[in-house]
C-alpha cells in the first residue's frame, strides 16, 4: 500500500505524478475521440495508483468541471445549448449527486471502524458500480456492432419505451424542439447525477438519453451535456471538497495530460470511421471493466470477506494496473495510427494532384 502524506492523500513522487499525467492524456484522447467520458479510464487508473476511490472520484469530477466549462463556452456561442432542458436535468441530477456523495462518504467512514484497509468499502462499492454499469454499456455497444454490422444505429429498446411515455406533465423545449414528460426527465437526470457522483461518469447516460429518448438533435445534445457537465461538475466538486476528498495535485496533473489529449482525440474523429470509433470505445471500456474487476478481490480481502496470500494482493494490483494501461494505450495507438496514416495518404494524394494539374 502506498504511503499517505496527509489524511487520505497519497505521496506523489515524480514517477507517480507522471503516471497520473499519462492517465490524463489517455483519458483526454479517449474523451475527445468519443465525445464524452474519459472518466471511466481516469478514475480506475488513479485507484490503481493507490488513490482512495473517493478521492479519485472527487478529483476527477473537479477536473471534469473545468474542462466542461471551457467546452460549453464555445458551444454556447453557437446556440447549441438548450438552457431550459439543461436546467431541468440539472436540478434532478443534483439529487442524484447528493445521494452518490452521501453513499460514498458514508462507506468511506464505515471502513475505518473495521480497521481494515482505508476506504476499502467505498473502493469496493465504486468498483462494483463501475463494473456493472460499464460492462452493460460496453457489451450492448459490442452486440450492436456485431449484430447489425453498422447498418443500424445503437440499440434503443429502453429509449423507445421511455420516449413513448408521455405522462403528463409534458414540458416543451424550444431550442431542442422536443416535448418530454417530466417523469422521464427526472429519471434520466437522477441516473446521470448518481453515476456522475459515484464513478465520475455522467455523459454516458446524458448524451444518448437526450438523443434517443428525448429526440434532441445531436449538436444540441452535446452542447447541453457540456452545460450540464459544467454545473454537475461544479456541484459534485463542491460536495466532495467540503468533505475533504479533492486532491488538487491530482486535478492539476490530470489537466496536464488531458487538455493535450483532448485535441488529439478530436482531431482523430475526422480521420476514423464511426464504426471504428464505436469499436475502440467499447473494447477500451471492456478492458477497463476487466481491470477494475481484477482489483475487487483485493478490497474484499481488506474488508475481511475473503482471505488469500499477501503475495496475491500485489499480483492482482499489478494485473489490474497493467490491464488498464493496455486498455488505454491500445485505444490511443489505434487512434494515433489512423491519424498518421490518413495524414500520409493525404500528402501523397495532394502531391499527385499537384503533379497532374501542374503538368
Amino acid at each position: 500500500m502506498p504511503n499517505f502524506l496527509f489524511q487520505d492523500f497519497i505521496v506523489l513522487d515524480f514517477w507517480t505524478a507522471a503516471q497520473v499525467a499519462l492517465l490524463g492524456f489517455i483519458g483526454g484522447v479517449l474523451s475527445g475521440f468519443i465525445g464524452s467520458g474519459g472518466a471511466f479510464f481516469m478514475t480506475p487508473g488513479m485507484m490503481n495508483l493507490g488513490v482512495p476511490g473517493v478521492v479519485a472520484v472527487g478529483s476527477n469530477i473537479s477536473h471534469k468541471f473545468g474542462k466542461a466549462l471551457m467546452g460549453s463556452r464555445k458551444h454556447g456561442e453557437m446556440g447549441n445549448v438548450d438552457t431550459k432542458l439543461g436546467i431541468f436535468l440539472l436540478l434532478t441530477s443534483f439529487i442524484g449527486i447528493r445521494l452518490a456523495v452521501w453513499i460514498n462518504t458514508t462507506l468511506f467512514g464505515v471502513a475505518d471502524t473495521h480497521g481494515g484497509g482505508k476506504g476499502a468499502a467505498a473502493d469496493l462499492y465504486i468498483s462494483l458500480v463501475f463494473v456493472c454499469i460499464l460492462s452493460a454499456v460496453a457489451i450492448s455497444m459490442l452486440r450492436d456492432i456485431v449484430a447489425s454490422r453498422g447498418d443500424e444505429g445503437p440499440s434503443r429498446r429502453i429509449a423507445d419505451f421511455l420516449g413513448r411515455m408521455r405522462l403528463s406533465p409534458v414540458i416543451i423545449f424550444p431550442v431542442a424542439d422536443v416535448k418530454v414528460s417530466l417523469w422521464v426527465l427526472s429519471i434520466v437526470g437522477l441516473a446521470t447525477g448518481y453515476l456522475a457522483g459515484t464513478i465520475g461518469v455522467g455523459g454516458f447516460i446524458g448524451v444518448p438519453a437526450m438523443i434517443y429518448v428525448f429526440g434532441v438533435p445531436t449538436a444540441v445534445a452535446t452542447g447541453t451535456e457540456l452545460f450540464l457537465a459544467t454545473f454537475m461538475g461544479a456541484f459534485g466538486a463542491l460536495n466532495y471538497v467540503v468533505e475533504g476528498f479533492v486532491d488538487l495535485r491530482l486535478v492539476v496533473l490530470l489537466y496536464f495530460g488531458s487538455l493535450v489529449g483532448i485535441y488529439v482525440g478530436t482531431y482523430g474523429t475526422r480521420m476514423v470511421k464511426e464504426i471504428v470509433i464505436r469499436l475502440v470505445t467499447s473494447v477500451v471500456i471492456l478492458l477497463c471493466v476487466v481491470s477494475r474487476a481484477i482489483a475487487i478481490p483485493v478490497y474484499l480481502r481488506q474488508l475481511g470477506f475473503v482471505d488469500f496470500d499477501e503475495v496475491w494482493v500485489g499480483r492482482l494490483n499489478g494485473a489490474s494496473k497493467g490491464m488498464l494501461f493496455v486498455a488505454g494505450a491500445s485505444g490511443v495507438v489505434v487512434i494515433i495510427f489512423n491519424v498518421v496514416s490518413a495524414f500520409r495518404r493525404q500528402a501523397s494524394i495532394r502531391r499527385r494532384l499537384a503533379e497532374t494539374t501542374g503538368a
Binding site: L259, R351, T356
Partner: protein, 511 residues
C-alpha cells in the same frame, strides 16, 4: 420556364392546390410521393429515412450515405424536370433541394388545425381524438424529416416567398391569386438560373454515380459542379475509398474536368473581387493547407433580378474582360471526354481573376469551387447550402463600392447573417492570417502562459502539505473557503493551460 416549390406537408388540400396551380400555369406537376417512388425504383431505401423521422432515430453511418444518395436523386429529378419545362413541385420544402437557385418560387400552404382535423377524420376515417393526434404528430415528423435531410429547421413560414392559408381561402381563389404572383419577374428563369440548374444536375449525377459504384459507395462525398468542372471532396477517414472517386467521375458524361481532393474541413471565402496574389489569398492558401480544407469562393454580387440575358453571363459592371471566356479551357481533359461540345460559359466567365485563382489553387492541390451570393443580405439563407459542414467562414473585402461607414456596417451585418446560417465561426481575412500564422506575439503569449502554468505547478507541488491541509477543511468557514478556492482556481488553471496546449499543438498542425 419556371420552378415552383410548394411546401404542403401532408395536407390533401395543398395537393389539390398544387395540381390546380400547375394546370392553370400549364406547368408540369410533380409530387413528393412521385419522387419517392422514382427513388425506390432506383434502389434508394427511402423508407428507412422516412421511418427514422417518425421514430426519432438518429441515422446510422450507412443511412447517412443513403441520405446523401436520396438528396442527390431528389435534386436530379427536380433539375431534370425543371430544365425540360416549367414545373410545380409539391411536398416537403422542395426548394431546399436546389440551393443557390434564386428564381425558385417557394410557397407554403397553411391550414388551421381544426379544419385539418375535420379533413383527416373524413379522409382517413379516424375519430376526432386520433385525428388530432395524427395531425399534431405528422407535422412534427415532417419537420424532423426536413431537419434530417437538409439540416434546416423545417417548421414555419421562414424561407418561403408566399404563404397561402387554405383554411380561409378556397383552392380556386388561391390558385388564381398565386398565378398572378408567379408572373412576378423575380420568379422567372434566366440564363443564370439555367446555369445553376445545370450545375446542380451535373453535381447530383456525379454524386449518384459515386453512390452506386461498388468502388465508392461506402464513402461520403461532397460534389460541386461549375460548367462541367466537377469538384469532389471527401473526408480523410474515407481516403481509402475516396481514391477511386476520380475514376468513377471520369466515366460520367458531361464532366469536362474534375478535381478530387481529400479535405478535413470546408472554408467559405466571401469577397467582392478575387485576386490570386496578396495577403488574403496567401492566408487562405495557408489556412487550406493547414487544415486540409476545400475552399469555396463566394462572390458577393449585386444580383439584379431579373438580370437581363446580356448581363447574366458577365459579372456586373465591367470588372474584367468584355469577351466571354470559358472558364477552364486551358487544361486538358483527363477523363477522355474531349471538348467537342461548345464550351459552356462558366459562372464567372468574364472574370479573369477568378479563372486565375482557380488555376492557382488547383495547382497547389487545394480543392476549390465557386458560387455566388446576392449582396441582398436577406437572401443569404437560401443561397447557402446548409447541409455542408463549413468549419470556417472568411469574409474578405466586401462592399468595396460603398462608402466607409456603410461598408463597415454592411460588413458587420454580413458577418452576423453568415454566422446565423452557417453555424461556424466567421472571421475577417486579417484574423485568419493570425489564426494560422504563429507570430512572435503568439510565442510571447505562449511563454507567458507557460510561466503562469509552471508557477501554479510549482506552488502546488512545493507546498503539497499546506495545499492538502487547506483542502481537508474541518470548520464551516474553512469548507466555504476551500470550495470557493477550488471553484475559482480550477477553471483558471484549465483556461490558462488549455490555451497553452492549444497554441503549442497549433505549431504542430494538430487542431
Amino acid at each position: 420556364m419556371q420552378l415552383v416549390c410548394i411546401s404542403r406537408g401532408e395536407q390533401e388540400k395543398g395537393k389539390r392546390f398544387a395540381q390546380q396551380l400547375a394546370a392553370k400555369l400549364t406547368h408540369e406537376c410533380l409530387s413528393q410521393e412521385e419522387v419517392a417512388e422514382i427513388a425506390i425504383r432506383e434502389g434508394v431505401a427511402v423508407g428507412k429515412l422516412e421511418t427514422a423521422a417518425v421514430k426519432k432515430h438518429q441515422l446510422s453511418e450507412r443511412q447517412v450515405l443513403e441520405k446523401e444518395h436520396y438528396q442527390a436523386l431528389f435534386t436530379r429529378v427536380l433539375c431534370e424536370r425543371a430544365l425540360k419545362g416549367s414545373l410545380v413541385f409539391h411536398g416537403r420544402a422542395g426548394h431546399l433541394a436546389v440551393p443557390g437557385l434564386s428564381s425558385v418560387l417557394r410557397i407554403r400552404t397553411e391550414i388551421d388545425t381544426e379544419t385539418r382535423v375535420e379533413e383527416v377524420m373524413s379522409r382517413l376515417s379516424l375519430d376526432r381524438a386520433r385525428a388530432k393526434v395524427y395531425v399534431e404528430n405528422v407535422d412534427e415528423d415532417i419537420s424532423r424529416w426536413i431537419r434530417t435531410i437538409y439540416n434546416v429547421s423545417g417548421s414555419g413560414a421562414l424561407g418561403h416567398d408566399l404563404v397561402v392559408n387554405l383554411g380561409r381561402v378556397d383552392v380556386g381563389g388561391a390558385t388564381t391569386a398565386t398565378c398572378a404572383f408567379a408572373q412576378l419577374p423575380e420568379f422567372q428563369t434566366t440564363p443564370a438560373s439555367i446555369k445553376v440548374l445545370e450545375d446542380l444536375l451535373l453535381a447530383a449525377r456525379v454524386r449518384i454515380a459515386l453512390a452506386r459504384d461498388k468502388r465508392t459507395w461506402a464513402a461520403g462525398f461532397r460534389v460541386q459542379a461549375d460548367a462541367g468542372h466537377v469538384t469532389v471532396s471527401y473526408l480523410p477517414r474515407d481516403s481509402a475509398v475516396g481514391r477511386h472517386a476520380s475514376e468513377v467521375v471520369a466515366e460520367i458524361p458531361g464532366v469536362m474536368e474534375k478535381t478530387c481532393a481529400m479535405v478535413a474541413s470546408n472554408i467559405l471565402w466571401v469577397q467582392d473581387r478575387f485576386q490570386a496574389t496578396g495577403a488574403t489569398f496567401e492566408a487562405i492558401v495557408k489556412a487550406a493547407r493547414h487544415w486540409h480544407s476545400a475552399v469555396e469562393f463566394v462572390k458577393l454580387t449585386h444580383d439584379p433580378t431579373p438580370p437581363s440575358p446580356e448581363t447574366t453571363d458577365g459579372d456586373g459592371a465591367g470588372t474584367a474582360a468584355s469577351k466571354p471566356l470559358p472558364l477552364f479551357t486551358t487544361r486538358k481533359v483527363d477523363g477522355g471526354i474531349e471538348e467537342d461540345v461548345a464550351p459552356v460559359p462558366g459562372r464567372f466567365t468574364a472574370d479573369g481573376e477568378l479563372r486565375e485563382i482557380f488555376g492557382e489553387l488547383n495547382a497547389r492541390g487545394i480543392a476549390a469551387s465557386a458560387s455566388r451570393l446576392p449582396d441582398d443580405l436577406r437572401r443569404i439563407q437560401t443561397a447557402i447550402d446548409q447541409t455542408i459542414p463549413y468549419s470556417l467562414v472568411v469574409v474578405g473585402d466586401v462592399f468595396l463600392d460603398q462608402g466607409q461607414a456603410a461598408r463597415v456596417r454592411k460588413q458587420r451585418e454580413l458577418v452576423g447573417r453568415l454566422a446565423d446560417v452557417v453555424k461556424a465561426p466567421v472571421v475577417n481575412a486579417e484574423d485568419l492570417g493570425q489564426m494560422v500564422h504563429t507570430g512572435w506575439v503568439d510565442y510571447a503569449k505562449m511563454v507567458a502562459l507557460a510561466g503562469v502554468v509552471a508557477a501554479m505547478f510549482l506552488v502546488i507541488f512545493n507546498h503539497q502539505e499546506e495545499v492538502l491541509r487547506f483542502f481537508s477543511p474541518a470548520t464551516i468557514g474553512a469548507k466555504i473557503a476551500a470550495a470557493a478556492v477550488l471553484l475559482v482556481f480550477v477553471p483558471l488553471f484549465a483556461a490558462a493551460y488549455g490555451t497553452l496546449a492549444k497554441a503549442v499543438l497549433k505549431v504542430f498542425h494538430v487542431e
